[in-house]
């Protein structure tokens, strides 16, 4: 089956700054694929190469079997795109913008589907874009990307700026698109979002793909960041357990990461009198660190994370 996205050794520099250093990536069709990485890792650069907005210095990129540069029109006919830094024509009304986007693919115009999308996201199309809130602009951006039922949706940080309820609506829209056999490729710097929506994930950092995984496996490796306050300083050695890392004692408060599940850790905690227990979402850094077993972790990373 033709991959939805195929990148081979794609590299890109801006002047002296290296944005992508030779990335390989294959996205199978019909999946929701998360592209996870911190800001500045190269997510947007990768996405803009897919749409031929920028040209790679080396390597090849193809979408649905079409070369992203030489056959860009074929690519763009089949792709719905939501830019990361979404800017729309401020003086246009929402409906005029959608008409404009529709006019590029007249054969795919589908007023009923458009109305369904607009109703679902509760958008007011009669207002000028400059009068819309950030959330409503983002919704309009999503509608224009979905409008022509593209084979591939490329969404750069689709849920940024949306409140949680609308985020859920968006997630459902993406799931529906995938259920119709279309591919969704979206970037994010928020791990739980990627875990929730996608089936596969690529993790990018500093212009390199560091991991491509099933989300199920990623979850299995998930890290818990735990902070416990005991009634009294706990006995030493209480947390000498497999998978406990980054242990730090601060009087009666103990901070650590649990990399091998929480069962053993919770049982150890329960042997003492507990005043407070907090768990945090692991930061992306924590996830990356969980990915790099010690030998793979570069020296400077270890120092930086210490």
């Amino acid at each position: 089956m033709t991959p939805a996205i195929q990148l081979n050794g794609v590299a890109k520099s801006y002047g002296d700054t290296r944005a992508l250093s030779g990335i390989d990536l294959t996205v199978e069709p019909g999946r929701i694929f998360g592209f996870l990485g911190p800001n500045g890792a190269g997510k947007t650069t990768t996405i803009r190469i897919l749409l031929d907005l920028i040209r790679p210095d080396a390597g090849a990129a193809s979408v649905l079997g079409f070369d992203c540069q030489r056959q860009s029109l074929e690519v763009r006919r089949r792709v719905g795109y939501l830019p990361g830094d979404l800017r729309l024509y401020e003086s246009m009304r929402g409906d005029v913008l959608l008409d404009f986007i529709d006019s590029f693919r007249p054969e795919k115009r589908d007023p009923a589907y458009r109305r369904a999308l607009v109703d679902r996201l509760d958008l007011d199309l009669t207002r000028r874009i400059r009068a819309l809130s950030k959330g409503n602009r983002q919704k309009l951006g999503l509608v224009q990307a979905l409008l022509h039922r593209p084979d591939l949706l490329v969404l750069d940080e689709p849920t940024s700026g949306l409140d949680p309820i609308v985020q859920d609506d968006v997630v459902h829209l993406l799931e529906d698109a995938a259920a119709e056999g279309r591919t969704v490729f979206f970037s994010s710097h928020v791990l739980p979002e990627v875990e929730k929506i996608s089936q596969s994930v690529a993790i990018i950092r500093a212009g390199k793909i560091v991991a491509i995984e099933d989300v199920a496996k990623l979850k299995a490796r998930s890290v818990h960041v735990i902070e416990v306050t005991f009634a009294a300083p706990p006995p030493p050695g209480l947390f000498a357990l497999p998978g406990v890392r980054e242990l730090r004692r601060d009087g009666a408060t103990v901070h650590f990461q649990a990399h091998d599940g929480v069962d053993a850790v919770l049982k150890a905690i329960a042997t003492q009198r507990v005043l407070d227990l907090r768990t945090q979402q692991p930061s992306l850094e924590d996830v990356f660190l969980a990915y790099y077993t010690e030998p793979e972790l570069p020296q400077e990373e270890r120092r930086a994370s210490a």
Partner: protein
């Protein structure tokens, strides 16, 4: 046949500008004509020496209707039309990049060439409407005044404004393609326009500066004032040829380079100049 949606959108975006400039030119052409009788009367017993006329920036005979209109209207309203094309021309590419709307536009199945050509066609149509606005002012005023200039000659003179303005439009497009930042593109074109216009008018009648005039685009417009001298076809041809080359350079530059939403990050003069040279020569 690709849809002309960008052409239509560009015209729609600029409709108020076009209407505004067209009305401004109409107001100037009609009032110029209507003021002619009193100007003629005051000039009747007053012969301006040739040297003084040259000093005023024109060797035209203001005491004739044709000379009066050439200086009064055709000698400087092209600047107004140039203002329109600088606004529109730098907005075409650099404007969309500065506003970051370019990503959304170029993510659609349309070639960069088509985007530029559709915008170019729309803006030239807008320019034609603006210049016709000036002609409309003549249409209503000339028959009411004894000015001894035919509307047909005036129509030719109005059409003769197109090449010089198109030249500055092409320059604006190219500047906008090279400097993906509208302010910078507009600044450069405005500087070129004012400098060459200043040199052109200043050098008029100053013998030592005479050769410099040939280097200004305005020479190829001004010296051909058709109301007085008739059209100089090779001037028209030269302006349009250079414009054509600038449009080709624009296409070449814009088709080859990365699109930068939000404007280029590296705006150092040297890097912009280097890029302009590299992209235009294909090295």
């Amino acid at each position: 046949m690709p849809p002309l949606n960008i052409f239509a959108k560009t015209l729609r975006d600029q409709k108020w500008q076009i209407v505004g400039f067209a009305f401004a030119l109409a107001a100037m052409s009609s009032t110029s004509v209507w003021l002619w009788p009193s100007v003629r009367d005051s000039l009747q017993n007053f012969d301006i020496p040739a040297a003084a006329r040259a000093f005023l920036g024109s060797d035209l005979d203001f005491a004739t209707g044709a000379g009066y209109l050439s200086g009064r209207y055709f000698g400087w309203t092209e600047i107004l039309a140039i203002v329109y094309v600088i606004i529109a021309g730098t907005g075409a590419i650099a404007g969309e990049e500065s506003a970051s709307t370019i990503d959304l536009l170029l993510a659609q199945p349309v070639s960069r060439r088509s985007v530029i050509l559709q915008k170019l066609a729309a803006i030239i149509l807008g320019l034609a409407i603006i210049i016709f606005g000036g002609y409309a002012g003549f249409l209503v005023s000339v028959p009411t005044v004894d000015i001894a200039v035919s509307l047909a000659d005036i129509a030719v003179a109005c059409a003769n404004m197109l090449p010089i303005v198109i030249f500055f439009f092409a320059l604006s497009l190219w500047a906008g393609a090279v400097a993906p930042n509208r302010g910078m593109a507009a600044g450069v074109v405005i500087a070129v326009t004012t400098a060459t216009y200043f040199v052109f008018t200043l050098a008029n009648g100053v013998e030592s500066l005479e050769p410099v005039r040939y280097a200004t685009p305005f020479y190829y417009y001004g010296a051909g004032l058709p109301l007085v001298y008739g059209i100089v076809w090779w001037h028209v041809g030269l302006l349009l040829s250079v414009s054509g080359v600038l449009v080709l350079l624009t296409l070449r530059t814009f088709e080859r380079r990365d699109v930068s939403a939000g404007g280029a990050t590296d705006l150092g003069l040297r890097s912009v100049v280097r890029r302009a040279i590299a992209q235009s020569t294909g090295t």
